[in-house]
């Protein structure tokens, strides 16, 4: 009951203030909170180190996309790579690294990878994904093993509050999709 009375008292106070403090100020500027603009895959192997970027300048919820940058993931066939994911907000200056925040809340997040085709020429398979603090899948770092030469696509998802962390597709894992990046893949 107490907080209720308190909130009422507060609202009445705010209300009476209005009559005195009603001066016009500058129009406010909206900010999309927790905006993600960029997904970066840092791919390394012996003698190989490269970053692939997927960027939609305005993130989501705007009236247009802004500048869109989608790198082609060009890798060597039949090779295993170490992959680490970075999530950034490049609207901020300096650029905001959201990866640290996601690592901190690893139990509430899940990275998912889907390759098309799933096997054969142009395919990528996934192994050794990192675990969260409770030992459930988290996949912020993972291994990619490329298939035979060919082309395909790779989709990376970031799921928030998944209901089943053992799921390997967004439908199976549940939760809401914070990020969905579709990269073209070229193995040659």
């Amino acid at each position: 009951m107490k907080p209720l009375i308190f909130s009422h008292a507060l609202s009445v106070a705010a209300f009476s203030l209005l009559f005195t403090a009603c001066k016009k100020n500058d129009p406010p500027i909206p900010v999309e909170e927790e905006l993600i603009t960029t997904l970066k895959l840092d791919v390394t192997a012996t003698g190989f180190s490269k970053s692939f970027i997927y960027k939609v300048e305005n993130g989501f919820g705007g009236s247009d996309s802004g500048t869109v940058v989608i790198d082609t993931i060009a890798l060597t066939p039949n090779t295993t790579y170490n992959v680490a994911v970075q999530v950034l907000n490049e609207k901020e200056n300096p650029v905001e690294d959201i990866t640290a925040e996601i690592l901190e809340e690893n139990e509430e997040h899940l990275f998912l990878y889907n390759a098309n085709p799933a096997t054969g020429a142009g395919a990528i398979t996934f192994s050794n994904g990192s675990k969260d603090d409770k030992g459930a899948p988290f996949n912020q770092t993972i291994n990619f093993t490329t298939g035979a030469a060919g082309s395909g696509s790779l989709t990376v998802y970031l799921m928030h509050l998944p209901s089943d962390k053992s799921g390997t597709t967004p439908a199976a894992a549940g939760g809401s999709t914070d990020l969905e990046a579709v990269f073209p893949v070229k193995l040659q």
Partner: protein, 772 residues
């Protein structure tokens, strides 16, 4: 003091009369009694003439003829139900007619107000929920209560957020008048319910169809009038205690009202009122719905000083609500939405809880109203000023809890209405006045994009006149509105503020005809129009709708909507057992604003559907039918049916999101059992809602899945009034969806994810009291 003076005067006069009453003369003189306030004839009334020791009755014109008195002064005493008893002297000279003014009785005053309101409201298709109906439905949302009215349906977000739909139109196309002030509480979307506490109402009237002339812009689909109980006229204490408990979401509701009119100064009265509501997650057949609790606390106070010919009233109300929103309804992208739609069970499972988590809303609405009225030689003046402050906070699902709301919208509105109910002039009665409105809407720095900051102002003048021709009433009205906006729109990649200005002007009119043919039959015909300026969200919205996983894009070139409606109501009783009411309507809305799908937009969450605001000409035709049969004094059956056909005239196609046809059946038994047990009732209601099959040809591009299938629900209720001494206690028990049927409704936004609520039992207690 005055009374003493008057009686002294009388004593003096009595002496003179006694001296003049000796001679008999034949001088027929017409005496006419009129009410001081509205000049209506005083009838029936008895006039006692002391000198003759004889009583006369007035006729329908308030007149009587005295034919056996000579010139001179005489004392008369006037008595009539509803009128102040009056003793006065009249002077007779020749055959000159005499006019005597009589006042309405003070405690009959509220009746007068009611009469006056009936006089003031337009000839229009209308329906209302009186005190008993409100008591039977207490604890429900305002829209949930209004659903009892034929032709009114609801647009909802699950069980807790609902807004009324009148003849297929809602939100910005409906005007709500709360205590006489147009409610301005940010009704942008389906998830924004009206911020009104139904416990402050004593009567809720729904005007169906365009009613722009008297009520102003936005009254396209209709008007909802939320009217309070008149302030007490009888001295002493009065009040009411209401309690209700609901089984489905374990919700408790309580309200208390106390009022007092002072003995020493009966013109002065006070009222305080408050209500509390707390509910947890609600239950659909087989599942709890995560995070759908609510808390509401409201209070209001009224002070009134009411004399016969002038008075003033101050009203303040505070509405405070926190609402949880089903977690599964905030989807990340189109695939999430599709997964939610295709899942046979709710994707987010939950137990029962009263806790509110993100996503949630918190809203505080203040209303301050000041009213002055006074009679003058021109008629009655009313000046009503209203100030509203609406603060809406929306808490989105975020990664890191920071305690902040992602949307903090403040809408402030000032309204002023000056109205004159003029006295009869050439047989015309009517009203004229002006309306002024000024608004300021802003969000806070750092909010997500939703509605830009804007200021708006409007001014309007109107005139409505009525003419009685025997049992026929004719009515005509005219209004002109001006409305202007200044919008500070953040746009582009860097959200630069760009200023836009919009100005709109529009004339509207109404023509009404009403005939009381005889005691069994009356009809009315109304031709009316109304308009509304495009709202800020339609002009400028540029954002994601979490619930529908789509991006809505505003259109700065939108023109005002203009609605023309014709409606015909016929009420006819066959004998004294069968009662019928038919209401037919046709409404043309030019520049009807609606959404059409556009290109997909790439976001960091994948591709989203975009929707653009476009305009077409809409044509809505429908009928509401009520048939009641009284089997005997105790048993009554009612059938109600409501149909609507809504067309897009430009595309020659059906309009999207229109309520499906529906039929309901009710049988009610009511009886006074004894002096102690009164008003016993038992009723059963069946509701059948058809599947909406009249959907646009491109429906699958816009919406998925198709409208849900038809459903039939059974409700039941039982109630009684027990007299505990002289104190009545009303108790009722009601059940909705008695058989826990699984169903979904087309106008429920949660139809994508969830079934409608299962069985809900409600226990309601109402204790009205008074001490004099």
């Amino acid at each position: 003091m005055i009374r003493i003076l008057i009686s002294v005067l009388f004593l003096g006069l009595l002496a003179t009369i006694n001296s003049t009453a000796q001679h008999r003369c034949v001088n027929p003189t017409r005496i006419t009694l009129v009410e001081t306030h509205d000049f209506s004839p005083v009838y029936p009334a008895v006039v006692y003439v002391e000198a003759l020791n004889k009583a006369f009755e007035t006729d329908e014109s308030g007149s009587m003829v005295l034919d056996s008195l000579c010139d001179g002064s005489y004392i008369i005493r006037i008595q009539g139900t509803g009128y102040e008893e009056k003793q006065t002297t009249i002077s007779l000279k020749g055959r000159k007619p005499v006019k005597v003014k009589v006042d309405y009785e003070l405690h009959a005053l509220h009746e007068v107000t009611v009469k006056e309101e009936q006089k003031n409201s337009l000839i229009q298709s209308k329906d209302n929920l009186g005190k008993n109906a409100l008591d039977d439905n207490q604890g429900k949302t305002l829209a949930g209560m209004l659903e009892n009215i034929n032709g009114v349906t609801t647009l909802s977000n699950g069980a807790t957020i609902a807004k009324p739909v009148i003849h297929g139109l809602h939100s910005n196309r409906i005007l709500m008048l709360n205590h006489g002030i147009r409610q301005e509480d940010q009704q942008w979307g389906a998830e924004h319910a009206p911020n009104i506490d139904p416990y402050t109402a004593d009567n809720i009237t729904v005007l169906k169809g365009a009613a722009g002339v008297r009520y102003g812009t936005d009254a396209i689909g209709g008007v909802v009038l939320v009217e309070p109980k008149p302030m007490p006229a009888q001295t002493g204490w009065g009040g009411e205690l209401n309690l209700a408990g609901f089984s489905n979401n374990r919700m408790g509701v309580g309200s208390f009202m106390l009022e007092h009119a002072f003995k020493k100064n009966p013109a002065l009265s006070l009222r305080v009122q408050g209500s509390l509501k707390k509910g947890g997650n609600y239950r659909i057949p087989g599942h709890w719905v995560a995070n759908t609790g609510l808390q509401e606390s409201n209070y209001s106070a009224t002070a009134a000083y009411q004399k016969l010919h002038y008075g003033t009233e101050i009203f303040y109300s505070n509405f405070n609500t926190s609402l949880g929103i089903y977690k599964g309804s905030h989807t990340g992208n189109q695939n999430d939405l599709l997964n939610a739609i295709n899942s046979p069970v709710p994707l987010v499972q939950s137990d029962f809880s009263y806790d509110l988590e993100r996503p949630k809303q918190h809203i505080v609405h203040h209303l301050l109203k000041a009213k002055i009225y006074a009679d003058s030689r021109w008629g009655r003046w009313d000046i009503i000023y209203g100030y509203q402050h609406n603060f809406r906070q929306e808490y989105d699902v975020i990664r890191q809890e920071n305690g902040k709301a992602q949307l903090n919208l403040t809408l402030q509105t000032h309204t002023l209405n000056i109205n004159l109910d003029h006295k009869k002039l050439f047989g015309l009665s009517g009203q004229t006045g002006i309306d002024v409105i000024s608004q300021d809407n802003r969000f806070q720095n750092g909010d997500r994009v939703f509605i830009p900051t804007y200021q708006s102002r409007g001014i309007a003048g109107y005139l409505v006149e009525r003419y009685h021709l025997k049992n026929l009433m004719l009515e005509a009205g005219l209004r002109y509105d001006y409305k202007g906006y200044g919008v500070y729109n953040p746009q582009g990649n860097n959200q630069q503020i760009v200023y836009y200005e919009f100005n709109y002007g529009n004339a509207s009119g109404t023509l009404g005809l009403k005939q009381q043919v005889n005691a069994h039959w009356d009809w009315n015909l109304t031709l009316a129009n109304a308009w509304r300026a495009p709202q800020a969200n339609e002009l400028f919205s540029a954002g994601l709708h979490h619930g529908a996983a789509r991006i809505e894009l505003g259109n700065k070139d939108l023109q005002p909507e203009n609605a023309y409606s014709v409606s015909f109501d016929n009420r006819y009783a066959v004998g004294d057992k069968l009662y019928t009411s038919v209401s037919l309507y046709s409404q043309l809305i030019n520049n009807y604003i609606y959404l059409i799908p556009g290109e997909d937009l790439l976001t960091i969450r994948g591709y989203f559907k975009t929707f653009h605001f476009r305009q077409t000409n809409a044509w809505l035709n429908g009928a509401d039918l009520t048939v009641r049969y009284d089997w005997n004094n105790y048993l009554t059956s009612t059938v109600k049916a409501s149909v609507l056909r809504a067309r897009d005239r430009k595309a020659n196609d059906w309009l999207i999101l229109m309520p499906a046809d529906r039929v309901s059946f009710n049988t009610r038994f009511s009886k006074n059992l004894s002096e102690k047990w009164k008003n016993m009732f038992a009723e059963v209601t069946g509701r059948y809602v058809f599947r909406q099959t009249r959907i646009p040809g491109n429906f699958d591009e816009i919406d998925y899945p198709r409208p849900p299938r038809d459903y039939f629900l059974l409700d039941a209720a039982l109630g009684i009034q027990q007299m505990v001494g002289k104190q009545p206690v009303n108790i009722s028990l009601a059940a909705t969806n008695l058989f826990n049927i699984r169903y979904r409704d087309y106008l429920d936004v949660f139809r994508y994810f969830l079934d409608q609520p299962g069985t809900n039992m409600a226990l309601r207690i109402a204790i009205p009291f008074e001490f004099h």
